[in-house]
């Protein structure tokens, strides 16, 4: 496969493990064991059973009839929003918690932005009876109170990251430091296809169940196993990586990644990393990231807490650089409108992240016979506040 990671953990020039020596043994332990464990029969059996019985997979591939009529084409929604805990995040946390157990780890740490990955991690820790510490930016704790309560109810300790900008990037730094200080018993459960090798490859593998299912489901519905196009939002890029995975080498499938433009690409309040970013190292990985002239990392902005990350996963940097994926972007307002549209046409309230992917529908010239899959990565329950404030400008509640 042309888009597979190489021995040193690189996708083309992106990826690798740019970590302080303090982390070397932690990462090496993972690198030496992850494929062996994941590919074992006992792991696969347990992983598949939990995805089916606990997460509720396969998630439906739903033909969105009224949405398709609006754009005069065929649009399917991959319903990751119907998963337990409300998003694709759980696919990865189930996989990593089983790995952590097999590595003999007793303490789990994670970073979280909006709290979705934190909740998904706290959930699997409760399931497996493992200690759980979630790092979350102090600012995010204040604005995502319901998820903080959920994590606590699930038995996790939520530790505020008080450094830097006090958001996701800093929560990630704190989690990495915790891992440095607790190398023996602690497993760092990363939530996206970011971080040092082998995390991007491992998280993509766990999320690849999404495209595996799309392949099977399309045969039933379209009598062929591929769509013409897949659309997914990218922050770090885990839902997109999962939705693309089995089609990476299939060039007849267009891969469309949608970034958050925030208040507008050139507004200074944006998270469109592929446009505003340049090559560099963030959280142990060579990728594209938003940085100033001195290499200081810039804090991004988006209405969607899951998309305001200053980097993208190295696989995506490689897909973009090689032209395999195309990047579109959507502003806060475009995302809100797209979320509202889906709600009224199909009775589905999408997460604001997924609403960015839907907003791209406005920017594509469709042919009527084309098949497009939009990865509906999560549900909108957590975003009701933002919807009420912003959507209230467009409709009456």
């Amino acid at each position: 496969m042309q888009y597979e990671v190489d021995k040193l953990g690189f996708y083309g020039k992106y990826g690798g493990a740019f970590i302080p020596e303090l982390l070397h043994s932690n990462v090496e332990e993972l690198e030496d064991n992850y494929l062996k464990i994941i590919n074992s029969d006992s792991f696969q059996k347990e992983f598949r059973a939990l995805l089916r019985d606990y997460v509720g997979r396969p998630s439906p591939l739903y033909f969105a009839k009224r949405l398709s009529e609006k754009y005069n084409t065929k649009i399917y929604l991959k319903r990751e929003d119907l998963n337990h805990t409300g998003a694709h995040k759980i696919n990865n946390t189930i996989g990593q918690i089983l790995l952590a157990k097999r590595l003999g780890k007793t303490r789990i740490i994670a970073e979280t932005g909006a709290g979705q990955h934190g909740v998904a991690t706290a959930t699997v820790c409760a399931l497996m009876d493992l200690q759980c510490v979630v790092y979350m930016g102090e600012i995010d704790i204040a604005r995502q109170a319901p998820n903080v309560s959920k994590m606590k109810m699930l038995g996790a300790e939520v530790r505020p990251a008080k450094s830097g900008s006090k958001t996701l990037k800093d929560a990630t730094n704190e989690a990495i430091r915790d891992w440095i200080n607790n190398p023996k018993d602690t497993y760092y459960l990363i939530g996206s296809v970011v971080g040092p090798h082998p995390y991007p490859d491992m998280v993509a593998l766990f999320q690849s169940v999404i495209s595996e299912e799309i392949k099977k489901q399309l045969i039933d519905k379209e009598n062929r196993d591929y769509p013409d196009r897949i659309i997914a939002c990218i922050g770090g890029g885990s839902n997109a990586a999962g939705a693309y995975y089995h089609y990476l080498d299939d060039e007849k499938v267009d891969l469309v990644s949608v970034e958050a433009a925030g208040l507008g690409i050139n507004s200074g309040e944006s998270a469109a990393t592929s446009v505003l970013g340049s090559d560099g190292v963030i959280h142990g990985s060579m990728t594209k990231l938003m940085q100033d002239k001195d290499g200081q990392i810039i804090e991004p902005y988006s209405i969607s807490a899951g998309l305001d990350y200053p980097g993208i996963g190295p696989l995506h940097a490689h897909l973009i650089e090689s032209g395999r994926s195309k990047v579109l972007n959507a502003t806060d307002e475009e995302a809100i409108k797209a979320g509202l549209l889906l709600t009224r046409l199909e009775g589905i309230i999408p997460a604001l992240e997924s609403a960015h992917a839907l907003a791209a529908l406005e920017k594509i010239d469709f042919k009527p016979e084309e098949v497009t899959v939009v990865n509906l990565s999560g549900r909108g329950d957590k975003d009701m506040k933002a919807y009420l404030v912003s959507a209230g400008k467009h409709i009456k509640f």
Partner: protein, 259 residues
């Protein structure tokens, strides 16, 4: 002078060697050169000049704090080099830059190294530059410049890997005393002493300098007993925090360790 200046220091066979880490731009944007001058005057043997970074993964709370203050003060690349140059004109001891790989990449490795030489910097510590990638990709660029480069060794580093890191280092190897970010420990445990002894037995090509967890005269003494020198970082930054006379604080801090 470059790495030769570092080699000369370790060839003097001094009994104890003290290095102090300073964050450029902390506590005030222009504090570093005056502090460096005072520390040299007090007898510090070499200086580690920190280039503040927004996301300093290998540092603990204290240095992350001083870095964030320095960045708020408006410190930038031009000033790292200008201030280093100013220090070079005043002091003869080796000067090292400590920064993160993204900073070096951003300005361009060649440009960065060239400016280091031009500013009178003798060596570099870049904790998140992976040795494997350095060896395969960047070593020929670094080799064009006569700068020392110190890779880090930790308690979890295998003997085989220590030898590899020693091969790639010049000037000295940086022995991290603990599996923990800086500024966290007090005193050395038996297992830490065993770890120092283990490295001693490997007969490395480079001198070994211990950093992390050295905060006072006692830990400085012990570190020197098992190595060729010791670096103090967080403890010095803490001493500066809240000081009304930073020059005096710096002078007294170094004198207390060395007396």
């Amino acid at each position: 002078m470059g790495k030769e200046r570092i080699n000369n220091l370790f060839n003097e066979n001094k009994k104890e060697i003290l290095s102090i880490y300073l964050t450029t731009g902390y506590p005030e944007i222009d504090s570093m050169p005056v502090l460096a001058e005072k520390l040299a005057e007090a007898g510090v043997d070499f200086l580690e000049l920190g280039m503040p970074y927004s996301d300093p993964l290998a540092d603990g709370e204290t240095i992350q704090y001083s870095s964030s203050i320095a960045l708020k003060n408006g410190i930038d690349f031009d000033q790292y080099f200008n201030q280093a140059k100013a220090v070079r004109q005043k002091v003869v001891i080796p000067l090292l830059f400590m920064g993160y790989f993204n900073q070096v990449l951003r300005i361009g490795i060649d440009t960065f190294l060239d400016k280091c030489v031009d500013s009178g910097i003798d060596g570099l510590i870049i904790p998140d530059m992976p040795p494997e990638v350095y060896k395969n990709k960047y070593k020929p660029i670094f080799d064009k410049y006569d700068l020392g480069l110190s890779f880090l060794i930790t308690p979890t580093t295998s003997d085989e890997r220590i030898k590899m890191l020693d091969e790639l280092s010049s000037g000295f190897v940086y022995v991290v005393s603990t599996s923990s970010t800086t500024g966290k420990t007090n005193g050395f445990s038996d297992s830490q002493i065993d770890y120092f002894k283990r490295i001693n037995k490997l007969n490395l090509n480079n001198p070994m300098v211990i950093g992390f967890g050295i905060s006072d005269k006692q830990t400085f003494r012990i570190a020197n007993k098992y190595s060729d020198g010791a670096i103090i970082g967080s403890a010095f930054i803490k001493a500066l925090k809240g000081s009304k006379d930073i020059e005096r604080t710096a002078m007294e801090f170094a004198q207390n360790i060395l007396k």
